[in-house]
């Protein structure tokens, strides 16, 4: 050690001491920052810690982490609430085979306070389930199955209700009717955020015109915004990706807007599939082994997973020290880890892909024409299904170009996951990355570095999957798996190529017009010059001009 270094060390020590003393002397008065530093002065013991260790209620957790669910700003909170209710309504209608009729209403209650009312003509919810669905987080019908639907986590609507309750103290109101023979039920619910349990404030039967459906009202603090990220834009996009939906929207103090149904066909029914081994992780495997009815490991793999035959099942178990006949319940985590490793090494056919329900090229085109009228060109591409980590997915791209759409601006990118518009975190989304990675210039469209293409274009990218990989629970951006980006790029390229052909055709037409104008400009001068040199008559001169114009227009040469 050099003397200089010694010195500096001593100095540090010297300054450290007084600070420590000061803190000890006046711990309560210290500024917040200082407090944080000195807080662990009370030495914890295992006993004292044990007194603090208790179950963390999910609702409590999410109260503190509301951003994870998309309630991090007043504007977003309002939109997310509508989104959760609409998603649920559409899921329920489709599952019940009903063409959805939806009304969405936002009422201004006070400054920054709104009431959101969403009503559907879906199957309704049985009376006993209503409290838990709306008053308990992580309660739903979609989490434990693999099937293409908008909701998947069982948090959505109860989180929205909880947000409303937290900001206004008001309960969630639900009305639901399941058929003509039963009356409609009305509920007022709040969530006990500590226990994550519903508390029924009021319950009664009510009069309903419709035979079945559900109506959800949530009062919340929020900010109402119009424009690109507004509610109306969101609903328009919803209509775009759901041509079978009829939607009426009434904003606060606004004229009602009606998004008409563009197609009478319900989407193909999405089938439920078993998980594919390639997507399984240790925790999930353990849970499945605990819950299964199979008594033997081999049978478990064959019956709980898709595409696993006897050979594959044997190969998964081989070398782990487990037997084909071992009871799945008895498998310890260390062994489960070995099983997962073996799965990765085993060749298993891709999962079935008939479980997906894309919008479809024809319906997408019809929808684009209806929701973005006046464009010069429409294109829709539905890719064949593909697989990421054992999960089937399918990519669709739609675009509307030119015509009445404003030019010279950046392309409007609309992103969809299982027909749900994604409004936030565009930059983090796989759809955005795929659009950026596509070479639009080769299709005759300008694109500056690091920006969306500059063109009078609306571009929509849709991913349909039994499990959409979002970057977070708020379901705002699709995670960038290589397989997904690749499929998106292929779809974008295909539609880009077709669009390029259209643009070039337009370019040719403009060239033709330019050519004609050019000819008309200069040919008269040839007439004049020949008239002056050869002393032609007016008729002769006119003949020169007419004949030459005709000759040149017929020639293709530029």
């Amino acid at each position: 050690m050099t003397p200089a270094k010694k010195k500096s060390v001593r100095k540090k020590k010297a300054t450290a001491k007084p600070t420590a003393k000061r803190k000890k002397a006046a711990p309560k008065k210290a500024a917040p920052k200082a407090t944080r530093k000195s807080a662990p002065r009370t030495i914890a013991t295992a006993d004292s810690m044990a007194r603090q260790q208790r179950e963390i209620s999910v609702s409590e957790f999410f109260t503190k982490n509301r951003h994870l669910l998309g309630f991090d700003s007043p504007t977003k909170a309002l939109l997310t609430t509508i989104k959760e209710a609409v998603d649920n309504s559409l899921d329920a209608c489709e599952e019940a085979g009903i063409l959805p009729d939806l009304t969405v209403e936002i009422k201004l209650i006070a400054e920054n306070r709104y009431k959101v009312i969403v009503q559907d003509n879906g199957p309704g919810i049985v009376r006993e389930q209503i409290p838990r669905i709306f008053g308990k987080l992580l309660y739903g019908s979609k989490f434990h199955r693999l099937r293409q639907s908008r909701g998947q986590q069982g948090i959505g609507i109860s989180a929205a209700g909880m947000y409303g309750q937290l900001t206004t103290g008001k309960p969630v109101e639900i009305e639901s009717r399941i058929n003509k023979r039963k009356p409609a039920q009305y509920f007022q619910l709040v969530i006990d955020t500590l226990k994550n349990e519903p508390v029924i404030k009021r319950e009664r039967e009510v009069e309903w015109d419709a035979a079945h459906g559900t109506r959800v009202s949530i009062e919340l603090e929020g900010t109402y915004k119009r424009g690109k990220h507004g509610v109306e834009a969101y609903l328009r996009q919803t209509a775009l990706a759901n041509p079978h939906v009829d939607l009426t929207y009434q904003g606060p103090g606004e004229e009602p807007v009606h998004f008409e149904r563009a197609s009478k066909d319900l989407p193909e029914e999405a089938l439920e599939i078993k998980p594919h081994p390639y997507g399984v992780e240790v925790g999930m495997l353990l849970r499945m082994m605990k819950e299964t009815k199979s008594r033997q490991l081999k049978g478990f793999f064959q019956s709980e997973f898709s595409r696993v035959g006897p050979k594959a099942a044997t190969s998964i178990i081989e070398g782990t020290g487990l037997q084909n006949t071992t009871s799945p319940r008895r498998v310890v985590p260390e062994k489960a880890e070995l099983l997962v490793k073996n799965i990765r090494k085993t060749r298993i056919p891709a999962p079935p892909t008939d479980c997906l329900s894309p919008i479809g090229e024809e319906r997408l085109l019809a929808s684009l024409r209806q929701q973005i009228p006046g464009a010069g060109y429409y294109e829709a591409v539905t890719r064949p299904p593909s697989v990421y980590r054992g999960n089937p997915f399918q990519i669709e791209v739609g675009l509307a170009y030119g015509g009445g759409i404003a030019g010279d601006e950046l392309t409007t990118l609309m992103r969809f996951a299982n027909r749900v518009p994604l409004q936030y975190q565009q930059g983090a989304c796989a759809t955005f990355k795929a659009v950026m990675a596509t070479n639009w210039r080769s299709y005759g469209i300008q694109q500056s570095r690091g920006a969306l293409p500059t063109a009078p274009m609306t571009l929509m990218v849709h991913i349909a999957s039994v499990w959409v990989p979002f970057t977070s629970e708020s379901k705002e951006a699709v995670a960038s798996y290589d397989e997904i980006i690749k499929e998106m790029k292929l779809a974008l390229q295909e539609s880009g190529r077709k669009l390029g052909r259209y643009i070039r055709r337009g370019q040719r037409e403009r060239d033709e017009a330019k050519k004609r104008a050019y000819i008309e400009k200069y040919i008269p001068h040839i007439g004049i010059a020949l008239q002056e040199i050869l002393g032609l008559s007016e008729a002769q001169e006119k003949k020169v001009v007419d004949t030459l114009t005709d000759t040149l227009e017929r020639s293709r040469k530029m």
Partner: protein, 402 residues
Amino acid sequence: MAKKKTTSKRTSTKKTTSRKKAAAPKGPPRKKTATRAKKVVTNTKVVRQIQAEASTVHQKILKKATPSMKFPIRSLANVIYKPAKGYFQMKGKKKERTLTVGTVKTFAQTLRMMAFSKELVETDDIATKREAYYVSKNWDDARFNEQPESDTVMEDVEALFGVNREQLGFIPEEKGGDVAGQLVVIDHDRETGEELRIDCTRFGSGAYSIPISVEGLRFETNAKFILAIETAGMFQRLVKHAYWRTAQCILISLGGVPTRACRRFIRRLADDKRLPVYVFVDGDPYGYSNIYRTLKVGSGNAAHMNEYFCVPQARFLGVTPDDIREYDLPTHPLKEVDIKRAKDAIKNDPFIQHHKQWEEALQKQIRLGVRVEQQALAKHGLNYVIDEYLPRKLANVKAFLP
């Protein structure tokens, strides 16, 4: 032949600019058919050529075919050098300008230029290149945006008919060059036709200006040679000290690349009086391959007229690359353009290629990497050029570069 030139016979100085006639009710503005009373047809040959070309175009159009005109290519690539003839001769390569959508504008402009030329010739009028450019401003969409555009079209028409622009009624506006020394130029008064005798020894520190047209001039001289000088500065020095008297010669200032009139003047004077022509320019590639070469054998751009605008008897006095060491002259480094020009000349200029000596001189200059100005001789005293340089050079005329 050049002697047929119309401009020498012109009687008025009327300008043709902006004689805008009332525009026709529809279509681009036009001139009414020229029906001016004073119709002095002086160069029927050019008019006939113009009419023939226009007629060919007309017939093609009526046959629903696309008309075309064949223009000689105006570049060094289309000339050959035959020392026996003494000038750059056109090889006859032509480019065909077919009327297409892409060429319709130039095609129309060329025809309108021809019509304008015909009118000038028929009415015995003239227009400068700049005036022609301004006249085109009446042509609506067919107008020229910049003068170089109209100059190019004019030069194309010249080459098309193999005539000098004066024969088309167009005159240049550049000055022709200055003359001092033992020469009497015999010209005529424009009004009276009276003979004018211009004594070039009597301009004091000034000089006689070569007119734009030199065909009518006659000469009297007892000079032994003509000294053509690149820069006005050197010319001034020699005039001031009446070097023409000392050396019994005629001094002519070229003022850079000599104009056609200047070249023609020197040529006629040298031919007439059987005088040798010595050329004294800066020692750089521009002086060699642009000024000297153009004076001696003409240019690639107007090759169809080189026969008249060349001075085959010219010989190169200096400043040569060898002079730099010989006379211990101060130099400047060659610029990139100089080096490029020298290399281009070695590669593409038929004159330089023909004369090994010139090729070697340019190679040497590139090797030395320097250039030298005429006036660098002043390093040894202002009159060193008169007392030493020129006498020593003129003592050995045989050593001049070809």
